[in-house]
Structure formats: structure tokens, C-alpha cells
């Protein structure tokens, strides 16, 4: 036999298949490495979400925020027929029964075009708030004397101060829509890990604030108190210790879920609307209780942990149907899915939740 072969054989046999005892700190390092990798995958998602939100805001400002200046003046110039006697101007009057601008008679009734041209723009703008409060009574009138309104501040006969009923276009431009709304939610959900689906229902209660970026896109955040009940199990491989034989963890965790979601309205007809939303949640673990059953004798160990936090560690997805009850209140049903982007809890279970939220959406009370 060749000597080199013997040498090779000696090392091959001597170095192969050697039993090296498990060194736990090596796993701790490995675990850190995996955490770092998870963070690397979470952050691009977080940044892309921010970028999407920023892009939405930008699109809103570019395409939806049309300039409002001199709107009234231009209308007046286009609709000169509305102007009747000298120095008179009514643009924003509308008929009480119709939302259309008040045009009793389409034929021009203006008699003095020069008078209109002589009205300074500032005067027209100043007049606007006064005129916007004028409504037509009964048959209505064709025009209002500008001089009359200006001088004595009284309304002519047949006019009264009523509720605000501007034209649709006027409404869009003169009133800022309610951007803020409040949502009270309650949701049952089923929590699951990679190894098992819990047979117990977890509960969630929360308060959310929504801000409409555009008519269709909104941003929402809030606080949800969640009680997560889930099981987790596996099979041990070592000959001794907790991982010998099958083991199971029963977890009961109280969590504060802080979501930041972007909502998009995909459909709206009358009082019904369908929304989709996606976002990220941070979990603040208020209290985690674990019951670990393991080892050959099925030994039960109880553990309690507090204070774990998972920043933007959970992805949220939901589809919601919302029905308007009145101008302020709407009710909604929203099936949702929460997918972890990182290990959650002491045993780093792949804790995901699926459930359905019942929502009460209250629009803010004040108009701007």
C-alpha cells in the first residue's frame, strides 16, 4: 500500500464523523446572523412602503389639487346672463329645490355690461361669503342688488338666510372635505404558527385614526390591544435536555399592535365602498406566558416574559366592505391577515393571525 494513501486514509478516517459536542454560543451567533438577515429583508419593505406613501402624496398634490384662484370671477364672466340690474351680481345663488345654479331665465337679462366690467375683483371676492348664504324662497328671484347687499346688509324680499347650499363645484372648492375619521374596531382572529393552527379564538380591540390623502387613498394608524393564543410544537433531536422527544409550547400573549396601513378604495357605489389595505405592524409584547411541555417525561415548565418589542415586524393585509349609515357613521367588515416578517415571542414562532374586524367609522365633526 502506498504511503501517501495510508496518510490520506489515516486523516480521512480520523477526521471524519467525529462527535463534536454542541456548543450553544455558536447557535447564539447563528441566531444573530439570521436576525440581521431578517432585518435586511424587513427594511427594504419598510422603505418601499414609505416611498409608496410619499409617491401617493406627491401624485395627490400634482393631479388632484387643482388651483382655486379667481374661480368666482371667471364664472361670473362666463355667466354674465345671471347679472341683472345695474351693479347687480348673483352667481352663487341656487334654487332651493335644485342644486343647479339659479337660472330662472336662460336669456340674458343683464342690461349693463359695463357695470359688470367695472366691478373690481376684490369686491366680488368679498361678496362671495354674503352671497353664499342667500337662498331662494318660493319662486325665487332672478337677481340681487349688489348695492343693496353692500349698503344695508339686508336681504331683499323673498330672500332668506338658510342653510348653505352651494353648487357642487362650489362645494368642492369652498369646503375642505373631512380628512380625518376615527375607527373603533373589534376583531376575533385565529393565530397560527408554522407547526400548528390554534383552536382557540384570540381577541383584538382597537382605535384607529384614518387620514384621507386623496378621495381614494388614506393612511391609518392606531393602537390595537390583542390577546394572542397559539400553540407551537416540534420534535427534539438530542438525546437529552428539553429538545429530547416531542415538545410543545402553549402561548398566551397580550400584545399592543401598532399598525401603519395604507388604504385604497377600489370601489364605491352609493353607500357601499370596498377598500384594500396593506401595511406594517409593530408589536409591543405586554405579557407573554408560555407553557412548555417537553422531554421524555413530558415535563411542564411555565415561563413568563415581558417587554419584547418587534418594530415593523408584521405585515398586514386586508380587504374591507364599508356601508354608510349616515353622513357621519359607517359600518364595516374587514377580513385581515397578519404575516410575521420576523420570529415572534420567546420561541420565535412564525406567529401569523387571520381574522375579521368589525369596524365603526366615525367622521370628524368639524368642517373647515
Amino acid at each position: 500500500m502506498k504511503d501517501e494513501h495510508n496518510l490520506d486514509k489515516l486523516f480521512k478516517e480520523g477526521l471524519d464523523e467525529i462527535d463534536i459536542p454542541f456548543h450553544e454560543p455558536d447557535w447564539a451567533e447563528m441566531s444573530k446572523k439570521l436576525d440581521q438577515q431578517d432585518k435586511k429583508t424587513i427594511f427594504p419593505l419598510w422603505w418601499s412602503l414609505c416611498a409608496a406613501a410619499a409617491a401617493s402624496i406627491l401624485i395627490f398634490f400634482i393631479f388632484f389639487n387643482t388651483p382655486k384662484n379667481n374661480h368666482t370671477v371667471s364664472r361670473i364672466e362666463k355667466n354674465q346672463p345671471l347679472v341683472a340690474p345695474k351693479n347687480a351680481l348673483v352667481d352663487t345663488l341656487i334654487h332651493d329645490d335644485e342644486k343647479k345654479p339659479f337660472i330662472k331665465n336662460q336669456a340674458p337679462i343683464i342690461t349693463d355690461q359695463h357695470a359688470l366690467a367695472n366691478i373690481p375683483d376684490s369686491a366680488i371676492r368679498n361678496l362671495q361669503p354674503v352671497l353664499s348664504k342667500v337662498v331662494i324662497d318660493g319662486e325665487g328671484i332672478n337677481s340681487v342688488s349688489l348695492a343693496q347687499l353692500k349698503t344695508d346688509g339686508k336681504l331683499p324680499a323673498g330672500l332668506s338666510i338658510g342653510k348653505l347650499r352651494p353648487s357642487e363645484k362650489e362645494l368642492r372648492n369652498s369646503i375642505t372635505p373631512n380628512r380625518l375619521s376615527l375607527t373603533v374596531m373589534a376583531a376575533p382572529d385565529i393565530s397560527s404558527t408554522s407547526s400548528s393552527v390554534s383552536n382557540k379564538v384570540s381577541t383584538n380591540f382597537g382605535l384607529m385614526i384614518n387620514y384621507a390623502l386623496t378621495k381614494k387613498i388614506g393612511l391609518s394608524t392606531g393602537v390595537i390591544y390583542a390577546k394572542k393564543i397559539y400553540d407551537y410544537n416540534g420534535f427534539g433531536t438530542s438525546s437529552s435536555g428539553y429538545s429530547a422527544g416531542p415538545w410543545q409550547v402553549n402561548a398566551d400573549c397580550k400584545v399592543l399592535d401598532i399598525p401603519v396601513n395604507l388604504n385604497y378604495q377600489v370601489f364605491k357605489k352609493r353607500s357601499l365602498a370596498v377598500n384594500v389595505s396593506a401595511g406594517l405592524s409593530s408589536y409591543i409584547m405586554l405579557n407573554e406566558k408560555y407553557q412548555l411541555t417537553s422531554g421524555p417525561a413530558s415535563m411542564v415548565t411555565n415561563e413568563e416574559v415581558t417587554g419584547n418589542k418587534y418594530f415593523m415586524g408584521i405585515a398586514n393585509f386586508s380587504v374591507g366592505v364599508e356601508r354608510k349609515v349616515n353622513s357621519r357613521l359607517s359600518l364595516g367588515l374587514q377580513p385581515f391577515l397578519k404575516v410575521p416578517l420576523t420570529g415572534i415571542g420567546k420561541y420565535e414562532g412564525n406567529l401569523s393571525s387571520a381574522g375579521i374586524s368589525v369596524l365603526f367609522n366615525i367622521k370628524s365633526l368639524s368642517n373647515n
Binding site: K2, F11, D16, I18, D19, D26, L34
Partner: protein, 197 residues
């Protein structure tokens, strides 16, 4: 069945399953890493880099093939990558200088793992990697040459020098001398063995 479940857990990136797989193959993988490294610290580094590759690619593992071989292959590749990444001033000699230098052949009795490991770890990185790849992991000189981007001659010369160095060290180890029997057998056809690749 057991390993299958662990693997499917690892595919779902479940940390507990990853822990189980790591523990299960720790000894086997650490064995590979240690002989490719200079010491425990480097070995642990290579081990974790290897496991990171394993966890990230476990969905590509073909369950029809033995998992151990797949893991071992990744671990050896990681060790080779580590060597290449840390390669700075390694020179490779040509076989022609050393082909005729074998003077003694040694028949060894079983040596302790620690001693063998210490000997391998004492080799220079370029000798150690070629010796590991050729003598223990079964690579041919062609494969080694391609993998390490060296000539086949360099691979052979490094193997030759590695063996020579190991023999010298064994001879110098007093307690070990008793365990081995040195025989004069240098007429054996060394070059034939070298060229089996």
C-alpha cells in the same frame, strides 16, 4: 419523517426548526469546518456562514437525495469560499520540484482526532485546502485546480508538500512516535498515486 418535518419548518424560516437542523448536523459540519480552518474561532465562523447558505437555500434541496451529503457539500464549499476570500499571498509550487522527494513511507496506526486535527490545522492554508479537498473530500486535482483557479501541477505540488509536512510533524511528535511504525518504502510509485486524478 423527523428530518422531513424539520426541513419543512426550515423552508418556512421557522427559527425553532432551524435550531433543530443546526443542532442535528452541528457535529458533522463542525468536523468539516475545523479541518479546513486554523482553529475553533475560524471554524465557527465558517460553520455559521455555511448554515446561513443552508437555511437560505433549503427550498432547493431535493428530498430524494440524502440531506447529509447536501449539507456536507455546502459546508465544504463554504470553507473553500472562506479560503478564497482570505487568500492573500499564497504561492503555489510546481510539482516537478517535489516529485522525486519522497524518501520514506509511513504506516500509521490510529491517531487521536485532536492530534490529527492539530496537524492539519498546522499546515499553511494552501496546503491545508488541497489536502482536505483531495485526501478527505475526494476532489480530483482537476476539480481542485478549477475550484481554486490554480494549475493542476500546483494542486499536485501542494498535496505533495502537505503530505510531506504532515509526515515531518508526525515524526517530530514524541508521544506519537510510539504509535506509528516508520517503514522505508520510498520506492513506492509516488507519482502514479499523485496522478490518479
Amino acid at each position: 419523517m423527523l428530518v422531513k418535518e424539520i426541513i419543512s419548518g426550515c423552508i418556512r424560516k421557522d427559527r425553532a426548526s432551524q435550531h433543530l437542523l443546526y443542532k442535528e448536523f452541528y457535529s458533522y459540519c463542525m468536523g468539516i469546518c475545523k479541518r479546513y480552518s486554523i482553529g475553533d474561532f475560524e471554524a465557527a465562523d465558517v460553520l455559521n456562514n455555511g448554515f446561513l447558505k443552508i437555511f437560505n437555500n433549503i427550498d432547493k434541496y431535493d428530498p430524494a437525495k440524502p440531506i447529509k451529503a447536501w449539507i456536507g457539500k455546502i459546508m465544504v464549499n463554504t470553507a473553500i469560499d472562506h479560503y478564497r476570500a482570505n487568500l492573500r499571498f499564497t504561492t503555489y509550487d510546481d510539482i516537478s520540484e517535489y516529485e522525486q522527494n519522497g524518501k520514506e513511507a509511513i504506516v500509521y496506526e490510529q491517531m487521536a482526532y485532536k492530534e490529527l486535527l492539530m496537524l492539519v490545522q498546522s499546515l499553511s492554508p494552501s496546503y491545508r485546502i488541497v489536502f482536505n479537498m483531495y485526501a478527505i473530500d475526494g476532489y480530483s486535482h482537476d476539480e481542485i485546480a478549477k475550484t481554486l483557479n490554480i494549475s493542476v501541477g500546483s494542486s499536485k505540488s501542494n498535496l505533495f508538500k502537505a503530505r510531506q509536512r504532515l509526515q515531518e510533524m508526525i515524526r517530530d511528535m514524541e508521544p506519537l512516535n510510539a504509535k506509528m511504525k516508520v517503514v522505508s518504502n520510498h520506492e513506492q510509485n509516488i507519482s502514479k498515486n499523485e496522478r490518479r486524478a
